[in-house]
Subunit: 225 residues, 2 copies
């Protein structure tokens, strides 16, 4: 018997504690549980999530790195505002990064990759399917970020992509109606990339992210209503 094989209330997965806290606090932020300027201590998070201080501290540091809270010496965590304005700003920064990545990618991305992605999107559209877990969407953004040729830019785009994905999943826990991924917007980006048109591709990406921003703001409002 190599493993204890406990069934029933299995042992807490050690690796999940930190992400559980990150998710929980992010959910609280999105639901409007705290107002900007509110403070809470490590001890309160320990009690709320039932884990020890170590994963709580690491989770708070991660959230600070994501610009969602602020940690002050011996003063607890200060919750930063998180409303429609902040979501708009988040998508604005994401747009700055991805629009520039798209501009760079236009002259570097491989045509075969563009064709393959276009095929998958058109197939999805023909079947009337939905890409419910945003797998294709993420693949597209990731492929463009990689084609930018700047590893650090790719990393920053991933940072925001992971944050947006976490927000999507939290929204999905409550509202069954997930906004349909916009295949047409994606295809517009790919068509411009296929022609090697940096301005057209970056403009199409900007339009796509503006639409995504509006959808995200509506989702937050729905979550809080």
């Amino acid at each position: 018997m190599p493993a204890a094989s406990n069934q029933g209330p299995t042992h807490r997965q050690p690796v999940a504690s930190k992400q559980q806290v990150v998710r929980g606090i992010l959910r609280g932020l999105m639901e409007g549980l705290w107002r900007g300027g509110d403070r809470f201590t490590e001890a309160s998070a320990v009690e709320k999530f039932g884990v020890s201080r170590t994963p709580v501290r690491e989770a708070l540091l991660q959230l600070q790195g994501l610009g969602l809270i602020e940690l002050r010496r011996n003063c607890g965590a200060v919750v930063l505002p998180f409303g429609t304005d902040e979501v708009r700003e988040l998508y604005a920064v994401r747009s700055i990064l991805e629009v520039e990545a798209t501009r760079l990618a236009a002259s570097r991305i491989h045509r075969e990759l563009v064709d393959q992605l276009m095929g998958e999107f058109t197939e999805i559209r023909a079947r009337g399917e939905e890409d419910p877990d945003w797998r294709l969407d993420r693949t597209l953004h990731q492929s463009i970020a990689e084609a930018s040729g700047n590893h650090r830019l790719l990393a920053e785009i991933f940072r925001y992509g992971d944050l947006v994905q976490a927000m999507r999943e939290i929204v999905g826990e409550r509202t069954s109606d997930i906004h349909t991924t916009s295949v047409d917007e994606h295809l517009a980006i790919l068509e411009a990339l296929r022609e090697g048109d940096p301005e057209g591709a970056s403009l199409a990406m900007k339009n796509h992210l503006d639409q995504a921003s509006t959808s995200a703001i509506e989702a937050i409002q729905t979550l809080r209503s």
Copy 2:
């Protein structure tokens, strides 16, 4: 300068441990102590810096957030490449953020602030002084980022500003010759901002950061030679 005034082996400042590790590893990266792909364990860092695992872990998480190392479960920290290409990419991302912030700031920044900053830069230039600790430079970049009106964009610019400042200080520990801050480049930005010219200001910022990138690359090469 307050001058730390460390006398004797006073009590270890509890708050300094984590930043000491961050600084030490960042210095190692800049000096080329490790090659990209090298791995080191928490235990080795504990031994190297003489602190416990807790601040080491938090330091590694911070460095991962800065995109300098990669943490893998039970596999230690993987050092990412850090050479001239990576410094160039770092400044490219910084440029993307700050150029857009400058464009946004052109129509929002207060004229009095621009005039005040121009006064301080011209005074520095008239006196032939140097702004050795980059205080004015940081004030300018911070003021522009604030004037962008996007708090998250400001935060991201701060993230890179702090990283660049830490790199400058590490370079300064070894090489007495610090590159002179380029007053003319700063004044070009401010003059365009004063006229409310978004394209001129953002172009001047891009030029300024391109020069800074070249200087940083030269500094790294000097540090390693």
